[in-house]
Structure formats: structure tokens, C-alpha cells
Amino acid sequence: MSQAQTNKTRKTRSVFARLTSGIRRPAKIHDFHGGIHPPEMKHLSNGTPITAGPLPQQLILPLNMHIGAPAKPLVAPGDKVLKGQMIAEPIGAVSAAIHAPTSGTVSAIGPRPIQHPSGMDAVCIVIDTDGEDQWIEHQGTIDYTEKSPAELVDLIRHAGIAGMGGAGFPTSIKVNLGDHQRVEQLIINAVECEPYITADDRLMRERAEQIITGIHILQYLLNPRRTLIGIEDNKPEAISAIKRACKGCDIEVRVVPTKYPSGGEKQLIQLLTGKEVASGQLPAQVGVVCQNVGTAYAIKRAVCDGEPLISRVTTLTGDGVSQPGNYEVLLGTPVRDLLAHGNLAGLDIGRLVMGGPMMGFTLHNPGVPVVKTTNCIIAASPEELPEPPPEQPCIRCGSCAEVCPANLLPQQLYWHAKNDDLEKAQHHNLMDCIECGACAYVCPSHIPLVQYYRYAKAEVRQQAADQVKADKARQRFEARQARIEQEQAEKEARRQARLEANRKKKEAGPTAASTVDVAALKQASLDASKAYKAAVKAAKAAEAEGADNLAELKAEADRLKAVADKAKAAVRDAKDGAPVAAAPAEDTVAKLKKQVGDASSAYKAAVKVAKAAEAEGADNVAELKAEADQLKAAADALKAELREAKTNAPASAAPVTQADPVAELKKQVGDASSAYKAAVKTAKQADEDGADNAADLRAEADRLKAVADQLKADLRDAKANAPASPAPVAPTASTAAAAEQPDPVAALKKQVGDASLAYKAAVKAAKQADEDGAGNAADLHSEAGRLKAIADQLKVELRDAKAAAPPTPKAAPATTATTDSPAVPEEQAPQSLAEVDPEQAAKRQKRLKGLKTAYNMAHKQYKEAHAAYERAERNETASADELQAMQGKIDKLKAKADNARDALDALVEEAKADIRAHTGKDLKTLKLEAARAESALADKQQELEQQRSSASEDTLEALSSELQALESETQIARKALKQAVEEQGLAE
């Protein structure tokens, strides 16, 4: 390389240097408004190097040493912790971790007095130190550039670093601004403007290299265009130390004139850059980030040495301590221990202040710990910091406004704060006050201005919080009102709909024919009860399946039941009303019958409902039963009425409608027996379902049978009257009587057919039950037997009727025929019959036997065919043609069976006539007696059964004695019947 080249290079470099120096020309130091120059008092503590603080017995670590959310403890009382171990982790974005400052045992986590002007307690982790000061395993990063900024931010966050200048804002937030945020200037705050405090001064003097490393890390994280260190000119040693340390790197040291409060963030920014951070703005918004010099040091320790923030340099100063100076104090060290460490001479301490004299606060409890933000403890002698003098009235001197570094009007703020005129105070930018205390310092009236402002600020915040709460309460209140209104509107709508429906019903009621109405209501009732049954079934199915919605289904069923009940009630009401309204009083008996039928069906329905309810274990069983009883009483009353009407009817209208009562009675009998059959069927159904109420249902059926029997007896009576009454009135009208007589016979036949059908059905059911091995087979069999007895009885009746029919025409020619006349020949006849009795009886018995076998065979075949047909139909195995063929076969067999039965009946009839002739008593009477006795017995048994659970022993005894009497009666009646039947060879 030639000389010329070297010169050229040198020249270029000097030009470049000049250019860069032009850019980096020592910038002008700006100024901010106001400020004061209080006595510095720094000489007390800045002469001695930093020494280690005490290792106290106990360390108290508040969970919120920083601004933001308290950290969450990771340890429990009793846990052993090592130095540097994280004992509380940051929660949320604005938070910082806490580490054990030394090794020891966590003795408590609970409220302790903390560094707060209120003197209140807060949750702290208390560590009993073990004196070993044993470090947890930790490792620093030699080259932090190997790590990504995000990793470093996380490391800083978990090292628990918060602003060391005094505010304690978590550093991880301030160094993690995001890519969009361009940082123009990174400002390192080393001003330390408050009197007394020398912690940063000593730190810079002794550990400048490490601070610079920390600043480099901050530069790496924030990538600022320029980095400035602001230092007051009253710390020349620190300035030179820092200048030495940052020689050759792009960090500018700016010396600012000593003035309080140059160390305020906004003031320092203004001093160094001329930028003003607007009200409500953050420094980052003007491209500036401010970090305390102590924070930079802590970052270096965390990143390069792997040591979290567990200690800080704190100035212990004041006239009250014998060894003022700076100590590297473990966080959590109670001030008491620090004082003991630095006040070996035991000087008299008048006032204890944490922080500087301008912005710190008096401590009332020396047990308060040193925390991350504690830069100074002033233990002042009584003379040094006397009690402040009393407040005097403001003389409006305006000194406060002159010194306010925030350019506010402290006097105006004072007035407004004093008068609680918060709105006006806010208009004067109360919230921009930095509470530096300059105004109060200069105030000749000793007005505690800062306290006024703090009070006003607290009030403003409180009001804002109250407003937020009030808005929330208003929202909730309005939401609730809206909800309630909606509910009421819905209720009202439902009510209106109901009223409307009722009104419509009422309107429709009178215009439409009441019968139609009743029919419609009945239909509705039926539908409702059907729906209810379906619902019950569904509920049962659900129960069987263990479905979840059982309760819902049951509720639904209950609802449907209620609907059905209502519908029934409506039907009843309609029926009660309808006949009255439309009573031409033409056919009261028919009406009554209908009513009786309705009432009894209502009763039955009620009983059924009650049973169902009982089976379900519903609460209203008792009510339902009572209702059923009521209905029964009504039905009984109606029946009695009907009987009365019937007995009256023949008397009043005998000549005109003689046949009517008989026909009606027949019809009634038919109704009763069909009701009975229905009851039997339900009972069977219940048996098959294994329902609990089967016994009840059977009893019900029995009762119905008794009713039917009674009706039959009535019918017989009526029939007995019928031939008799016309006789005297119109003896010549015997032909008419004869013409009428086939009618009852046919009806009886029909009844007999019905009864035998019912019997057959019962037999079938019993068989079915046998096959299924059901428990109730025996019951069913007995049921079938009972049915058979009825059928037999009916048959006997039929025979009687048939037998009665011929005698009348016979008697008719005998002109002497009177009411007594049938008795006379009957009395005679038995005598003649009795003579031929043995032979005739034997013959008849033989014929009977034959016929019976034939009938039985035919009937059995018929039954089998019918069962086969039904099975085929049910299983849908046969085609329609096959079914038809089967039907034909069934019909044929039935005809055959009927023929046989008819012949048999004729024979039985003969035999019965003989019996009558014999005993003077009708066979039917005998049978009736037997049947009545039996039903009475059954009733009594039923009663006994029912009473057993509830009644006293006396009643039970009375009942059982009654029962026994009835039993004996029944037996007698049976015996008589048997005898009579056997005598006539009718046993089979």
C-alpha cells in the first residue's frame, strides 16, 4: 500500500468520522418546565462501596412487589427452597416472578405488612432462612445473541425483573413492544435526582461494565436507533466510569444539570430528546423506551449469569444510622434487619421513610420488607425530618405553578380537590400530576398539596369504578325488567287464549245440539285418555329401558291425565246438563239407563285412572279413589232411580207399552253384561301385564256381574209380570202376548250367545295364561268358571222363557186363566210329572249327555278353528283366501255347536220345568239365589281384603263373621241348586 493510498484512506475516514460525528454531535440538552433544587444529602451514603446486606432470620416476599397482577405461589408452607428458586410464577401479561433470595424453608404464606402507604397487609411468602445460602443450579448465557429476543423476553419475565427505579413495572412488557413499534431512542435513566439516594450512583461507579452489558441486551431486544444514558452532573465518578465502560460502543452518555425531578420519565425524555409525551400517552408512542440503570444491571445478571432478581442495591441513609451506605440487600429483608445491620451504634431514629424524601412514604412498621422497588431507606433523626408544620391558607403566591414539572396549575388543582370538584380538577389535568412534590416543597403555607392531589385522584378512580359498576347494575336491572315483562306478557297471552277458548266453547255450546256436543266431548275425552294411556305406556317403556327422560314422560303423562280428566269432567257436565236441557220427558227410563251406563263407565274410568295412578305411585291416588267412590255413589243412585222408574213405568204405561220394560230390561242386562265383560277383559289384560291392580279390577268385574245379575233378576220379574198382566186385561190378546214372547226368547238367546262367547274368551285367556305359565292362570280359570255359570244361568233363563211361552197359549184357551192360573196347573203338573219322573229323568239324562258331548265337540272344534283363525290373522301367516276358508269353517262349526246347544237347551228347559214342578221353586230362582249369595260373598271378601290393611281388628272380626255367615248361605244355596239339578239329570 502506497503513502498516497494511505493518506486517501485516512482522509476518507476523517470525512466519514466528521459526518458521523455530525450526526452524533453531542445533542443539545433540552429543559423542562419548573423543577426544584432541594439539598442533595447524597454525601451521606455515596462515599462507601456497596456491601452485602444482612442475611435475616426471615424473608418476607410480597406477591405483588411489582405493578400488575400478584404472582401465584408455587410453594407451600414447609417446602424447602434454594437460593434463586422460583417460588411464585407470573400470572397474566403484567406480572413478574418471585424467587427465593436465599435457601431456607417456606414457613408461611399469608398476610404481612407490606410496602404500601396504606399500611395494609397483603399476602406474602415467608421464608425462614437456613444460613447456607445454597444456590439452585443455574446457568447464564455467554452470548445472548444466540437467543432470540422472544426467548430473552421470557427469560426476563421469569427472572422476575421489574422496573427498579421506583414504579416496578414488569420489564418484560417494556422490552417486548413488537415489530411494528419503532424505537427511536432507548434512554437509560441514571439521573437519580431525589435527595439522599445514591444506589444508582454507587452501582454505576462499581459495576459500569455489567450495566453496559445489560444495556447491550436491551439494545438487542429493542433495536433502538440511539441509546442515551442520562446522568445528573452531581455524579462525576459515575459519569466517568460509565463513559469508560461504553467507550467504543454506540451508547451516548448525556450529562444533565442537577434539578429535581429530572429523573421523572417524561421529564428525562424531554431533557434528552426534546419530545414531550402527551397526556395519557406512553413514551413508547413517541418512540422512546426508558429503563432504569438498575434494571439494566438486573437484566445482565439474569441473562448472562442466570441469576434472577433476588437482591438489589438499597441506600440506607439518614442521621439515624451509624453506617449509612449502599447495601446489596436480599429482597424480603425486613427494614428492621437492615437497620440493625446499618445502625450498629443504635442511634435514635425519628422517622423512617421508604423511598426518597420527596416521593417516598413514612413507614409505621419496621417489619415491612425491602422489595424490588426499594431504592432507599431513610432513617432520619428527629431533627433531620421534623413533623410537617400545620397547613396554612393558600396565599395564591403561584410558586407551585412555577415549579410544576408537568406544567399544571397546582393552585387550581388544590382548590378543586379541596372542594371535591373533581370534574374541574380533571379539566385542569389532575391525572397528569406526577406527584413529585415540588409544589408542596415550595409552598410557603405548608399545604400538603400532593396529598390533596392523591386524594382527588383516588376519588376520580373510585367514581370511574362506581360508574362502571352502576352501568353494569343498570344493564342487569334492565335485563331483569325486560325478562319479567316478557314473562308477564306470556302469562297474559296464555290467560287471554284460555279465556278466548272458554268463550268460544260457551258460544258454541248452546247453538250446537247438545247431543252433538256431548259426542264431540266424548270423542275428545276418549282421545285424551288414549293419549294419556300411550304416554303412560311410553313412560313404562322408558322406565324399563332406564331412559333419562322418565321424569319428563311421567310429567307428560300426568299432564295428559289431567287433560283426560278434564275432558271426562266436561263429558259428565255436558251429560248432566244435556238431558235436563233437552228433556222432553218422553222416555225417562231410557235416559236414566243411559245415564246409569255413562255414570258407571265414568266410575270405571275413574277407578282405572286411580289404579293407574296407584301403579305409578302418584300422589293423588287417594283423591282419585275418592272421586271414583263418588262416581260409584252417583251411579248407584242412578241405578236405584232407574229401577224405580222401571217399576213405575210398567204400572203407568203398562197397557200401552207392556213389552217396553222387558225389552229395556233386556237391553240393560245386555249393557250390564257387556260392561261386565269389558271389566273382565281389562282385568285379564291387567293380569297379563302383571299389573298390581288386577285383583281390584276383578273385584270390579264381580261387582258389575252382581249388577248384571240384579238387572237380569229384574228382567225376569218383568217377564214374569208381562205374561201375567196382559192376561186379565186382554185375555183374548194372548196371540199378541204370544207374538211378544218370542222376542224375549230371542233376546235371551242372544244373551246366552254373548255370555258363552265371553266364557269362551275367558277360557281362551286362561289357556293362554296356562301356556305362558302366568301366575294368574288360576284366577283366570275361576273367572272362566264364573262366566260359565252366568252363561248357564242365562241358558236356563232362555229355557224358562221358552217354557213359559208355550204355556200361555195353552192357558189362553182356558178362559178361567187368572194371575194365579199358571200356578194351579203347575201345581198339578208336578204331581203328574213326578210320577213318571225316574224313567223320564234317566232318559233325559242320557239324551242330555249325548247332546252335551256333541255340543262340546262342536264347540271345541269351533273354538279351535276360531283360535287358529285369530292366530293366523294376528301373525299374518295366512293369505286372505285361507282366512276366508277358515272363517267359513268356523261359521259352519259354530252353527253346528249352536244346533247342538239349542237341542241341549231344549232338553235342559224340559228338565228345568220339571224342577219347577218338583220343588215349587224355579231353577232360575235357585240359581239366582246361589249367584246372589256368591256375589255377596265375593263382595264381603273384597271388603275384608280392603279393610285388612286399614281397619281395626274389631271391624275385621265382624267382617269375617259376616263373611262366614255368607259363606254358609252360599253353600246352602249351592246345595239346593245342585240337588235340584242333579235330580233332573242336569248335572252336566
Binding site: 424524601p357 413514612t362 396529598q451
Partner: protein
């Protein structure tokens, strides 16, 4: 004479034109609702306590707008009375709190949960739905939502609801107002006037 007639006619014409414009504007820019009610309501503390005799703050705001006295809100205190006076241009009345001493103390309902029988009566009484619970199950107060109106206290059949004073926490603590002229500041005051 003509000049007078012309002047009158011109004035009448102007009156008609402006009347039409004003009428149109009053229709076009009609303000829905009663803005004064909104303003009054925003000044009321929204405790919905009913101590004013109205079922909530808004009904009372409506009543004030219609002329009722504006000093019947004990939870709002005298400050609210003053604020309402300012707003309405009415005379500053003294608070009509029937001599209640602790009217301005923030309170919050607390259910002694062991004693709660789960009757839901307090839930129905709460104007801001701040009580949670179900029939035959324990109830509890959502403290953040409770306005301290004490409407739930009376319906409780077992008297298990207490109105507790809200104690300041570190977050809600605020500096007290200095004692005033002639008094030494609270010894906690930090400014030492070196």
C-alpha cells in the same frame, strides 16, 4: 300606508317561512325518548334499591323529570343531590335519608351459606340478579354484582343475609383528604419540605 302594509306582509311571509322550517326541523330531527331522563338516570347510583319509593333508578329518574324532589336517593348521597340540582337547575335540597347514619357506606349482601334453606326468595327480590342458587339449594351473592340495596334481607325467612361493609383492599384504597387548614398533615404524608 303602503309601506306599512308591505312591511307587515314581509314580516308575515318571513314568519310563515321560518315557522315552516322550524316545524320541519322539529319533525325531522325529533329526539326519541326523554333525554333528561337519561341524564338523570346516569347520575343516579343504580343500586336499584327502591329507597326513593320507586322500583329502581330509572323510574325515579322519570319521576324526577316529572317534578318529583331529587333528594330521595340515600345511596347516591348529597353528591348526587348536588349533581341533580346542577343538571336540573333546581334548588339544592338536603338529602332526605331519614337520618340514616351509614347511608354512604358501601355495603354488600352476604349469605351465611350454612343457614340458607334455598327458598329463592332473595333471588326474586334482587333487582340486579346478583344472587345465584336454586330451590332447596344454597344461594350465594355475586359480590361484584351486588349493589348493596339490602332488598334481599327482608324476604329471607331465616335471616341468613347480612349486609357487610365493603372493606378497602390494596386496589381500592385511596389517600384520605388532608385534615385541612390549621391541621398538621397526616403523619404519613411523604413530602418533608427539607
Amino acid at each position: 300606508m303602503t309601506a306599512v302594509l308591505i312591511a307587515v306582509a314581509a314580516l308575515l311571509a318571513l314568519a310563515a317561512v321560518f315557522g315552516a322550517v322550524l316545524g320541519f326541523a322539529s319533525e325531522k330531527f325529533k329526539v326519541e325518548g326523554d333525554p333528561i331522563v337519561e341524564q338523570i338516570d346516569s347520575l343516579l347510583p343504580q343500586t336499584q334499591c327502591g329507597q326513593c319509593g320507586h322500583p329502581g333508578c330509572r323510574p325515579y329518574a322519570e319521576a324526577i323529570a316529572e317534578g318529583e324532589e331529587h333528594n330521595r336517593c340515600p345511596p347516591g348521597g348529597q353528591d348526587t343531590v348536588v349533581a341533580l340540582s346542577d343538571l336540573l337547575g333546581r334548588e339544592e335540597l338536603t338529602l332526605d335519608d331519614e337520618g340514616a347514619e351509614d347511608a354512604n357506606v358501601a355495603k354488600v349482601a352476604y349469605i351465611r351459606e350454612d343457614e340458607c334453606i334455598g327458598c329463592t326468595k332473595c333471588i326474586q327480590a334482587c333487582p340486579v340478579d346478583a344472587i345465584v342458587g336454586a330451590a332447596k339449594l344454597m344461594h350465594t351473592v355475586i359480590v361484584d354484582e351486588c349493589t348493596g340495596c339490602d332488598l334481599c334481607v327482608e324476604p329471607c325467612p331465616v335471616d341468613c343475609i347480612d349486609m357487610l361493609e365493603v372493606k378497602p383492599t390494596l386496589q381500592t384504597w385511596g389517600w384520605q383528604r388532608p385534615a385541612g387548614i390549621g391541621e398538621r398533615p397526616d403523619s404519613r404524608i411523604e413530602v418533608v419540605n427539607l
